[in-house]
């Protein structure tokens, strides 16, 4: 990746200095400043107040719900991603391009609309609203709705990471395993999976960050019932709107920690994968 820049393609020190200054200024203003603000607001009134805000019962409930939604959505989309990548990358069939485009759809849909479509299906006035009420089932303004909306917005993450990697790897190794007598499962577990593990982990981490941080879609289907259907990002909103700034930023700092961990893991995986040339 790092190539020596020949002198003819080098910019003058002045140009370089100016451009680097602008770049650092932009990164500082747009990216570092908000992080700094969250930290100072959260910790500005002392560590005890910070911890109290996190120990709050509603915050704890929101944390549990966020973890639950991610714990369902991420494995489901992982399974889907592996399955989609297997059939798309290892086989040639008609309509593949269409399938690829459809998998990308959730990326193109506004989070709010992602929530709305489930309200229209399962809400009181939705397609299945009457039936659900008759059977005393609740999806919208309840946990299942939050899980569904989370699954929708994080749908493409794993598939999008795996497909190009598996396409680039081709089918030679799998064919070799087959001629050596390996069954389909043996081929997948022992040959394919080790080859895609970094891409897989990468996809899972991005998927998880979005699942835990999703706001718009979840906001539409949640109903904002404290302690019941509030996720961490929604809890931040409620606290902020109630002018509980310190509490809001304390909970927000937890989510920021998630983002930082995500970025660190991402950088580690990229370095690992670069070693193996497999991402």
């Amino acid at each position: 990746m790092i190539k020596a820049v020949p002198s003819s393609a080098q910019d003058s020190p002045l140009v370089r200095g100016v451009l680097i200054t602008i770049a650092l200024g932009f990164v500082g203003l747009m990216l570092i400043l908000p992080m700094g603000l969250v930290l100072t607001q959260a910790l500005g009134h002392g560590f005890t107040i910070y911890l109290d805000a996190l120990r709050d019962e509603d915050a704890q409930a929101a944390l549990r719900l966020t973890l639950l939604a991610a714990a369902i959505a991420v494995p489901a989309n992982l399974l889907f991603g592996v399955s989609a990548a297997w059939c798309i990358a290892k086989f040639e069939f008609k309509g593949k391009q269409l399938l690829l485009t459809l998998i990308d759809l959730p990326f193109a849909v506004s989070p709010v609309i992602s929530g709305l479509i489930f309200v229209l299906l399962f809400g009181l006035h939705g397609w299945f609203g009457e039936w659900l009420r008759a059977h005393d089932l609740k999806i919208i303004f309840a946990v299942p709705g939050i899980v569904l909306a989370t699954m929708f917005v994080t749908f493409p993450f794993v598939a999008r990471e795996l497909i190009p990697v598996m396409q680039a790897q081709g089918t030679d190794e799998e064919e070799a395993a087959t001629t050596l007598g390996a069954s389909g499962w043996q081929t997948f577990w022992r040959v394919t999976l080790p080859n895609i593990k970094w891409a897989l982990l990468y996809g899972v981490i991005l998927c998880n960050a979005r699942a835990m941080g999703e706001f718009g879609a979840v906001s539409v289907v949640s109903g904002h019932i404290r302690g019941l259907t509030n996720t961490l990002p929604l809890h931040v909103e409620i606290l902020y709107n109630e002018y509980q700034t310190v509490a809001a930023f304390s909970v927000a700092s937890l989510l920021m920690l998630l983002a930082v961990v995500t970025l660190v893991l991402k950088a580690v995986i990229e370095a690992k994968a670069a070693d193996f040339g497999r991402l």
Binding site: I20, L24, M30, L37, F93, P111, I117, L121
Partner: protein, 298 residues
């Protein structure tokens, strides 16, 4: 390398095998699991994505064309479109300029903190939008870190379309950088060196040699940032002020309609937005195909 590959039998074999299955649903393969994985993929895709989206279109069709048109052309809705698209456009343009600059600096220069900068570019992908929203609101509010200086000049940033634009700049940063960066990395210096030997100065060789090669990627990044900006909700609402006709974005309007139990209105606006989103997705796909073609021709 490429020319010699073309002549190896393996490639021609691959080509012939590719056309071999035309007329059938799929090309034969010795690998197993096609039926199972395609079946599950299509099933899960239908369940989570296709059926819910189709249901939305059906719901919108229920009301008839006249009420659909009335719902999406009301003055408040038109104003929301104007705010949403205007801010998304300005933000995407600003991101294009800074994105190319950042990509250039990160790829071509070595300076302390470069790797940290590079890793931070993805922060908007990883940081929950609500966190970004409250942080930006606090920074750009009249008493905030930045807002107070703007206020001295009589400029209000937060709770105006300018606040919306700043939020959209924040969430759009990674798109241009991450599409332009790999193209710059794989770019051969030979063309720039050739330009230099032919008498071009640095600016000329950037403008005439480097920039044209970057254009497909830059446009793709712009389109991605713009598409994301149109739909963004979480980071915007805290800093927007949400004044109808002035600083109300379309996604918020949809939520407002829902809270007023105006399902038909919300659905109509959503369907119009979905149509635009799909058009954007198509455009982005075409742009990406163009980027890949441009890359492979090098």
């Amino acid at each position: 390398m490429r020319a010699s590959q073309l002549e190896t039998p393996a490639l021609s074999r691959h080509y012939f095998r590719r056309v071999a299955w035309r007329g059938h649903f799929r090309r034969e393969s010795v690998l197993s699991g096609f039926g199972l994985t395609l079946g599950f993929t299509v099933f899960y895709l239908s369940l989570i994505v296709l059926i819910p989206i189709s249901a939305t279109f059906l719901k919108a069709a229920e009301g008839g064309l006249a009420s659909f048109w009335a719902a999406i052309s009301a003055p408040r809705v038109i104003a929301a479109y104007r705010v949403t698209f205007g801010c998304a456009l300005v933000a995407a343009l600003i991101n294009t300029v800074f994105g190319v600059l950042l990509a250039w600096v990160l790829v071509r220069y070595r300076f302390p903190g470069r790797r940290l900068c590079d890793a931070l570019i993805d922060l908007p992908f990883a940081l929950p939008t609500a966190v970004a929203g409250i942080a930006l609101a606090a920074i750009y509010a009249p008493k905030g870190w930045v807002g107070q200086y703007a206020a001295e000049w009589g400029v209000k940033i937060a709770f105006t379309p300018m606040g919306i634009t700043i939020a959209l700049i924040f969430i759009g940063i990674p798109f241009v950088v991450r599409t332009v960066q790999p193209v710059l990395e794989s770019m051969d210096f030979a063309c720039e060196e050739a330009a230099t030997t032919l008498g071009a100065n640095r600016w000329q060789s950037f403008r005439l040699v480097v920039l044209p090669a970057l254009i497909p990627a830059v446009l793709t990044g712009f389109a991605l940032a713009f598409a994301r900006g149109i739909g963004e909700y979480g980071s915007v609402i805290f800093v927007a002020g949400n004044m109808p006709m002035v600083s109300e974005i379309v996604p918020l309007l949809i939520i407002t309609k829902l809270e007023q139990y105006d399902y038909a209105g919300a659905t109509a606006i959503a369907v119009a937005m979905l149509g635009i989103s799909f058009a954007m997705l198509l455009t982005i796909n075409l742009l990406q195909a163009w980027t890949r073609r441009a890359e492979s021709q090098r």
